[in-house]
Symmetry: C2
Subunit: 115 residues, 2 copies
Amino acid sequence: MPVGRRPGAYLCGTDAAMDIIDGKWKVSILWVPGERGTCRFGELRRRLPGVTEKVLAAQLRELEADGVVHREEYDEVPPRVEYTLTRSGLQLNEALEPLGSWGRRHVLGGAPAPR
Amino acid sequence: MPVGRRPGAYLCGTDAAMDIIDGKWKVSILWVPGERGTCRFGELRRRLPGVTEKVLAAQLRELEADGVVHREEYDEVPPRVEYTLTRSGLQLNEALEPLGSWGRRHVLGGAPAPR
DNA sequence: CCGCATCCCCCTGGATACTG
DNA sequence: CAGTATCCAGGGGGATGCGG
């Protein structure tokens, strides 16, 4: 699936974006790397309590196909793979900030937390 | 389900908000009323191509339980029900605007459309 | 006009085990 | 370390039909 999985079925830009974010762990995957914008597979796995390797790998591949995450494989032993937010991914992250503020205020009740 | 269906399981405000928005038609339901902020059931149904009455009613009830939509029933014949965005819902709508812009630029390719 | 009740299908995502 | 390979359960949501 290239960018978007429901071609021509969007009513507005918002649900087009939602289509890319759709997946239990995707916003967290975007969020974890934070300012640094890059993260290894194992680090992601540790910082997403409950995710399985299969699902994490699948969601990462979809985000990669959608052009928001870049996958860089280093030919080393032991293996190392870096996942980096693309320019588009960083901008998506920024676009999610207001939603995060809303969530903190209306769902979490103003609790302290990043974003 | 009151506000949020995954109590205490949120990594950040964003996925807390995502939990409320989670549902195939929810962002569209928020989007359709637009500035006016209010809409009838049948109007929603007509403007959401493909939605069934059962699913539309279900998602509306969840949005109501989450406090972003207010349901006003008028005792008339024929029946009339108005769905209005609450203050919280309007703010959620505003928080979704940047995401909509991003979706237009990165998914729809800068096509003209509201939000 | 505005729904609710039922039935059912598919797809996401979880559990577990194995490989380069 | 960074993944695949299977198997499987749960639930969202679509189709259809009835009720106030």
